[in-house]
Every structure is written in C-alpha cells, then in structure tokens.
C-alpha cells in the first residue's frame, strides 16, 4: 500500500477516534468517575449494544492508529528492506492480536458468555 494512503488512514482513524473517545470519557464523567467503574455499571455498559459497538469501533481505530504510529517511529530510526518488512508485518500482527483480545472481552460480556 502506498505510504500516502497509509497516512490518510492514519489521520482518518485519529479524527474518528477523537470523537468516539470523547463520548467514552464523557460517559465516565456524567455518571461520576468512581460509580462508572463499579462492576454492575461496567457490565451494563457492555450489555448496551450501541455502546459495545462503539467500544469495538474505538478498539479497531486506535489499534490501527497506534500500531501504524509505532511503525512510523521505528522506520524513522532505522531503514533497510528486511527491517522495514519485519516492522510492518510485526505491527500488523500485533494490531490483529490486540483487536482479537479486546473483541473477545466485548463479545463475551455483551453476549453473557462469562
């Protein structure tokens, strides 16, 4: 994929994540910070499908943005064909692993498989 397209994805995921993370944080503040972290409150959040969907979207957006950012930093420090391939594939693998791990929590709590 062209680097210019990757940077457009990087910026797009950043802008979308800012909007959704703002909603996620406001949910904590409107409820009261400590109360919003209570077990029943967190379970209720996960069970509410639109909110669980939003968490899943945030997870995907931030994973893409975060690991692409890490890739950019690592490629700035050192260059080379093998190194660049290893960094790119490593970041994609880590991104997929994190999305899978986070999705597991969201899906299991939302569907009551716990």
């Amino acid at each position: 994929m062209k680097e210019s397209i990757i940077m457009k994805i990087h910026y797009g995921t950043a802008l979308a994540a800012v909007a959704l993370v703002a909603v996620h944080i406001l949910m904590r503040l409107t409820q009261g910070f400590a109360e919003s972290l209570e077990y029943d409150s967190v379970i209720a959040n996960y069970k509410f499908l639109p909110y669980a969907g939003m968490l899943e979207i945030i997870l995907i957006l931030l994973s893409i943005h975060g690991f692409n950012g890490l890739r950019v930093i690592l490629l700035e420090l050192k260059q080379g064909k093998t190194y660049e391939k290893a960094v790119s594939y490593g970041c994609v693998a880590a991104m997929i692993a994190l999305i899978a791990y986070g999705s597991r929590t969201i899906i299991m709590v939302n569907t009551g498989m716990m």
Binding site: V21, A34, Y39, S63, R104
Partner: protein, 144 residues
C-alpha cells in the same frame, strides 16, 4: 582512526530538543506521547479483560489502579492524550498546507515559512491545554 563522521550524532543528535526550537520539542513530545498512549491502550485492554473473571476479579484489578499512583499515571495519560490530539490536528493542518505560508524564493537567513508564529502558537496551545486537562483530571479523580 574511525570511519564515523564526528559530526554525525545519530539518534542522540536527532532528539536533542535544544538545537531546533519548539518544533523539535513538539516532534519529540508527539512521539513520546504516542508511545505512552499505545502502552496505556494495551494496558487498558488487558485491564478491562479482568471483568471476565467476575466481580471479584474486577474489584481486585480496580484496587490496583484506583490508588494515588494509579491516579497520577492516569493524569499523565490525560495530558499525553490532549497534547497528542491538539498537536496532531496542527500537524494534519500543516500537511494539508494550512498555516504554512506561501511558497517563496529561499533567501538568507533561510527561515522556513512553515515554522511560523501560527504553528508555534499551536504547539504552545497544545502544551497549555494538556496541562489544564491534567489538572482537571486530577481534580475529578482526587475530588471524590
């Protein structure tokens, strides 16, 4: 005799914040805050997965994070998040050609048109907003 150029400082020279003004500081902070936020994000995903262990597991993990040290770390995360967001918007605008000035013939003293007062104000705004957000976060977390 070594082959290395004595003027080539490598990464140490690249990250020297004193040499290239506030733009280099912003460059450094952007990368440090990005790495910090990625580390926090991974930790947050791991932390929230403890809810699968039920109420006992959740409360045990919450006890670890809801401490003074935990709140201080969260305040730093808030600061990094706000700086990364505001400075990121500045960088995006700059890449889009907003606020970087018009192309002109490079004349002595070769001051880059893009490193102008508008972008410097953007960097300082990001730092100030991050500090305000950190203080607000601390007030919310310790105020309860």
């Amino acid at each position: 005799m070594t082959n290395q150029d004595e003027h080539k400082e490598g990464i140490r020279g690249m990250i020297n914040p004193r040499r290239y003004g506030v733009e280099r500081v912003a460059y450094l902070l952007m990368r440090l805050s990005g790495l910090g936020l990625l580390a926090y994000f991974i930790g947050h995903i791991y932390e929230t997965s403890s809810i699968l262990k039920g109420q006992v597991g959740w409360n045990e993990f919450l006890e670890l994070t809801q401490t003074n040290a935990g709140h201080a770390i969260l305040a730093i995360v808030i600061g990094m998040c706000v700086f990364h967001t505001v400075n990121g918007i500045r960088v995006m605008l700059g890449h889009g050609g907003v606020g970087v000035g018009k192309p002109a013939r490079p004349d002595y003293p070769y001051t880059p048109a893009s490193q102008n007062i508008r972008h410097k104000m953007g960097i300082y705004s990001a730092i100030i907003l991050a500090a305000i957000a950190m203080m607000y976060g601390l007030a919310v977390m310790f105020g309860e």
